[in-house]
Symmetry: C2
């Protein structure tokens, strides 16, 4: 996992560093407010507007991905490297799909539709192993 750095041309502020740190620590893409609260826990006070502004900048720089999950109406933000995930419909746990199998059919998709493919995002919903166990026991 490569250490992230503040993009060139942007100043290094303690707020910015803190936000990036939180994103690195969390596997799950987070709501802006989650980030705000986690920072507060650490004793770092960053205003919500600053968080939004920085997430926006980081997104434009390609470090962060913004996505809305099924049945949610607030955006989540996560590092780009964690773009494809499995979500448990029961406990909401999120698991990153590491070796995204998308590459395998990218070629096929390009041929069939004639698109040059640049990016993709995949969300898969299901029931995670833990929740499956519980269902059996109940």
């Amino acid at each position: 996992m490569e250490k992230l750095t503040i993009p060139k041309g942007y100043k290094t502020t303690k707020q910015r560093k803190a936000i990036l740190e939180i994103l690195e620590e969390n596997i799950t893409p987070m709501h802006a407010e989650d980030i705000y609260l986690k920072l507060k826990e650490k004793g770092i006070d960053v205003s919500l507007s600053t968080i939004y502004r920085n997430l926006d900048m980081l997104q434009k720089q390609g470090l962060v991905v913004k996505a809305y999950m099924l049945n949610e109406d607030k955006a989540r933000f996560g590092l780009s490297s964690k773009k494809n995930y499995l979500i448990c419909k029961n406990c909401k746990k999120i698991v990153i799909i590491d070796n995204c199998p998308f590459e395998k059919f990218k070629e096929e998709l390009m041929e069939v539709h004639g698109f040059d493919i640049l990016e993709h995002s995949i969300e898969v919903y299901g029931i995670c192993p833990d929740c499956k166990k519980q269902e059996v026991n109940e």
Copy 2:
């Protein structure tokens, strides 16, 4: 393409029929307001709140899928059958992926992560054939 019907237990109103019709006519998932405007063009006046309420109902019934596209902050709604798509980053054209290749790696994903997979959504971004041509000519 199967004709959609208003789910059992819900009354048949002209607004509801009109909304469903618009969704059937459009390949591209639409914003609530797009639907509002298209209806108005047809001379059918349906309030935005009614549109939102019905889309919500249709979603809960599984007929409609709600999704946010890259860099957009309003939800789009489309028929469930049109869930996976290619989006041109240049002209914003949307092409539905019909034979979604996801099935091919569903098994693999289930094995690796132990999830029971229920749903998925795939968004792919790239440049469409038309826009590629233009780039060459410019």
